[in-house]
């Protein structure tokens, strides 16, 4: 339960911390540090995964999961280190703020980390929500649940793809400089809805692909 609350808080923190323009620099730095702390706790609580990494059989799914997790770890380390280096408030004395490359690496690692987190969630969806479904007495094999969940997934995937374009996620991953005006005041709710959908999109795609791989194998 503590683990799951931690996971939920961590996802919410990530969605908010990504909205740099709305929360402004000082809050971004503080929330980023807090998220890093949660990330470290998450890794400590799940340290057994690291110890078991070389044990047991490696199949396609496990290779993909391991690769995702290790790449995600790398991105989180990179986002934290670059974040400290370009800090204007908390670690201002260490600042390499006028180095463009450090800023670009921060954006690259943040956005690829964001997507890797979604893929990571997709891989673990059953573990994360199996208990909740049982608790709420949801019969996951019932046709109405399957229909509803597929419709919801389809909607999230559709809107997530749309939001990926309107929020120019691709340009951010490719480090293209995006020119956007401030004609509209940045809104946190709109941002979170869009980014949650983008996250949900990758979660759903990963989840269904995992199911597919398992079905083919059995």
């Amino acid at each position: 339960m503590i683990k799951k609350t931690l996971n939920l808080v961590m996802v919410l923190c990530i969605l908010v911390v990504m909205d740099y323009r709305f929360i402004t620099n000082t809050i971004h730095e503080m929330l980023g540090l807090f998220t890093l702390l949660l990330f470290i706790i998450h890794n400590t609580l799940n340290r057994r995964w690291y110890m078991a990494i070389s044990k047991g059989k490696m199949d396609l799914l496990r290779i993909l999961k391991t690769f995702t997790n290790l790449l995600l770890l790398l991105m989180m380390v990179l986002v934290a280190v670059t974040g400290v280096l370009i800090s204007q408030t908390i670690f201002a004395s260490l600042s390499l703020s006028d180095n463009i490359l450090v800023h670009e690496l921060h954006i690259l690692s943040a956005y690829s980390g964001f997507i890797l987190i979604a893929i990571h969630l997709g891989f673990h969806w059953n573990e994360l929500f199996g208990k909740l479904y049982r608790l709420l007495k949801i019969n996951r094999t019932s046709s109405s649940f399957i229909l509803l969940s597929r419709l919801a997934s389809l909607f999230i995937i559709g809107y997530g793809i749309y939001a990926s374009f309107t929020r120019q996620i691709g340009s951010k991953l490719l480090l293209q400089h995006v020119v956007t005006g401030w004609a509209a005041t940045p809104s946190l709710i709109g941002f979170i809805v869009d980014y949650a959908a983008i996250m949900g999109c990758y979660v759903a795609i990963t989840y269904y692909l995992t199911q597919l791989v398992q079905k083919i194998r059995s």
Binding site: L8, L12, L15, V16, Y20, R21, F22, I23, T24, N25, I27, I86, Q88, A92, S95, S97, D98, I100, H103, L136, K137, I138, N139, S142, S144, F145, L148, H177, V179, T180, G181, W182, A183, T185, P186, L188, I189, I192, V193, A196
Partner: protein, 203 residues
């Protein structure tokens, strides 16, 4: 049953999104947006003020003019000898190279007797996370020792970007006051915030 669970889950999800927003929304509301601009021409009556700025798209110019309207003083446009291309993307690329190499372009004009000013406002658009190259030149060309310097910026998301520190690095003995940053296109809607900031500076 299924439908009810679905609604419960959906409601819970929606609530978390709302909760996530609350803390920061109230902070936004706390900003005194509707405060009418006060007559602030008594802010620094006895001080000689210079407002030096570079502007490419007009945002920093608008900001500088707004400051002048409220505190008086002389405006000075930091103009590079080679103007930046009208095409935005070309300027973005050119600026990237210049910022990376810390290039200082030649300027057209000089401020006459900068030592006679008490307060010097320095404004820049944030280009590639730092001061624009013409402002870098400006900072290196004058002796601002012991002067009161006030940075201001316009930006597309990166705020003040530590330009107060940049000024401090070039002029360690200057008294750098708290700066203010405004998002591009928002100068008109932030007049009240500009007034508040100028008041708080206690020039």
């Amino acid at each position: 049953m299924n439908r009810r669970s679905f609604i419960t889950t959906a409601a819970a999800g929606f609530a978390t999104i709302l909760l996530g927003g609350c803390g920061f929304l109230s902070q936004d509301k706390a900003q005194p947006k509707s405060v009418a601009p006060q007559t602030t021409n008594n802010i620094a009556k006895d001080k000689k003020i210079l407002i030096a700025y570079f502007s490419f798209e007009g945002n920093t110019k608008a900001f500088a003019e707004s400051i002048q309207k409220q505190v008086g003083g002389n405006l000075f446009f930091i103009e590079p000898q080679d103007a930046y291309p009208k095409d935005r993307n070309k300027t973005i690329d050119k600026a990237k190279g210049e910022v990376e190499s810390k290039y200082k372009p030649q300027l057209v004009n000089k401020v006459a007797d900068i030592r006679s000013y008490d307060v010097i406002f320095i404004g820049t658009p944030i280009w590639w996370y730092t001061v624009s190259p013409p402002v870098r030149t400006f900072l290196s060309e004058y002796d601002l020792a012991d002067k009161t310097v006030v940075p201001f910026s316009t930006h597309k998301g990166s705020g003040l970007s530590g330009i107060d520190k940049t000024i401090k690095e070039v002029h360690p003995t200057a008294k750098v006051l708290e700066g203010f940053a405004i998002g591009d296109g928002q100068v008109n809607s932030k007049q009240a915030d500009i007034s508040n900031w100028l008041q708080k500076l206690k020039l």
